[in-house]
Symmetry: C2
Subunit: 366 residues, 2 copies
Amino acid sequence: MPLKFDLIKQDYSTAARLGKIVTSHGTVHTPAFMPVGTQGAVKSMLPEEIKNCGAEIILSNTYHLYLRPGYEIIKKIGGLHRFMNWSGPILTDSGGFQVYSLGALRKITPDGVVFHSHIDGSKHFLSPQKAIEIQEALNSDIMMCLDECTPYPATFLQAKESLALTVKWADLCIKSRNNTAQALFGIIQGGIYPDLRKEAVEQLRHFDFDGYALGGVSVGEPKEIMYKITDSITPLLPETKPRYLMGVGTPADIVFAVSRGIDMFDCVIPTRCARHGLLFTNTENVVIKNARWREDNNPIEQTCDCYTCRNYSRAYLRHLYVTGEILAMILNTIHNIRHYMRLMENIRLAISESRFEEFKKSYFNK
Amino acid sequence: MPLKFDLIKQDYSTAARLGKIVTSHGTVHTPAFMPVGTQGAVKSMLPEEIKNCGAEIILSNTYHLYLRPGYEIIKKIGGLHRFMNWSGPILTDSGGFQVYSLGALRKITPDGVVFHSHIDGSKHFLSPQKAIEIQEALNSDIMMCLDECTPYPATFLQAKESLALTVKWADLCIKSRNNTAQALFGIIQGGIYPDLRKEAVEQLRHFDFDGYALGGVSVGEPKEIMYKITDSITPLLPETKPRYLMGVGTPADIVFAVSRGIDMFDCVIPTRCARHGLLFTNTENVVIKNARWREDNNPIEQTCDCYTCRNYSRAYLRHLYVTGEILAMILNTIHNIRHYMRLMENIRLAISESRFEEFKKSYFNK
């Protein structure tokens, strides 16, 4: 059993769930948010800082690590955990979404995707089998099947064909696994069409994956559609498996999706916004470069328990940002990641205390 | 008494000294190296990391902090220690060298320096009195007098006039002090002329500074000249005061200067080289971007006890550097600063065990 999922509690008035994913590298309390370590590093953070912020699992990108430094090298060094000095669980994506994002640089065939590297234009082929081979070399705790990300907008027929390919590839991914100590999640596509999404669930459930992800969301569609898809799909998923909404999202997106029964999230928003000086708080977000913080001796947020808020003023953070100091990115990222982690802690606490609906209401009314 | 200097031991066969500077923010064991925090941050390092590397004192730049964020703001926030969250001793320079470095953007007058900001071209005036006013607002533990940095090359007459100005300004600096809880060091100029350097020492000794710095070195002159100046000046300095060789230098420069009786150093070499991927070791230095490290599972240096060497391979550090990850700068800087700090620890140990001459010989023969 590569992964054990305990459903600890089902919320009484929403679809929110409290759970626990046990992997050989540690336990992840769900609902969980995974900071993104695209190239084998969560940008500007030491592993100890990631952990101190409360993160229990991180995500890393197969596409990027395949191109640089190459998966054979990471395997040789002892796998991704050793390579990046992160001892906790790691989920790797399949490369599917990154390759999809290449647009004109990629061509989809029934057997996989031919693509050109965004770095040097070199030509590569990513098949379902290859995606598994790479992720097995990385030795992540949770692997993702290679999927074809259905674009938005897509016609019903396009979405149907795309879905068929994803299901076919899911089968090939399972069949090519050598290391069953690593978990494997299936990805539900089907675009904006409820019937197709439903069909996707039915077909993927047959494979009995270790978890199920909703893919092809957050690809440009209006938020209402993402919400609607999440809404209609989660009731169809097996209760006993973790559910992962890929690439989502803002704090508000997360609170919504948790209420619909999602257990796992990942997104670059907290890290990327931090590097651009946008800092999250429970009230108004802070654009740290603004002149109004020039002489402000207060932390980003009075009630925040992060390292940055405990030790630095807005005036200092503004100064670091304006002068282009690397330390600005470090301190800002710690704050934003801790903000996300505290949100997840508060969500879990609210579910465990049977007051998640109230929590959600007050979150959206603030 | 703003600063207490204990001369613990005078080496028996070289001019090396073991000492201790006690300030209200902590003790500095000498010979000491001060990492440079130009803009109120040692680039890419958290204060805890600086401390964990073994640094007991850091340097920060008056010129940069005067321009951004402005010394009134730092004063308002509670001084530089609070502003940058560094609780240990801080030495601030006077701005003299930075203004000197502006070249055509500055004009020296008998009363101070008129200069244009390198950031926005705005016009400013830095006088000896102003340099003290700023440093008192920053509330550093050790302030430096405003000096005129004698360029290299300079004629005897130029150097003599420059020296006279520096002595006059030293007097003005002392007279404008309000906070005698902060130490003040005088700066010895005089260019490459031993007679002028000697005259500078004699004149500055009258002011009974808390310490003496050698300025106008490391400004383009050949190393032999820097060595010769250090050689000829240190015997003239009072034994009971710390001696600081400004802006120096490489590990070899430091070992040499310690043997001539220097107690304090600062330099951007370890941090700047780290950001450019040049890593110091006791044998061959490592250019981390080189393809030869692609698959190297060893740390930068087997015998290094720094956080980076204890946790990361050359292969990973190369990957981070090549992919432009901020973490590369963080990990590289930790290594280089720890390398410098361990050098200082080894120097102090060698002096205390009466084997510094042997240490120096083996250092230069390696």
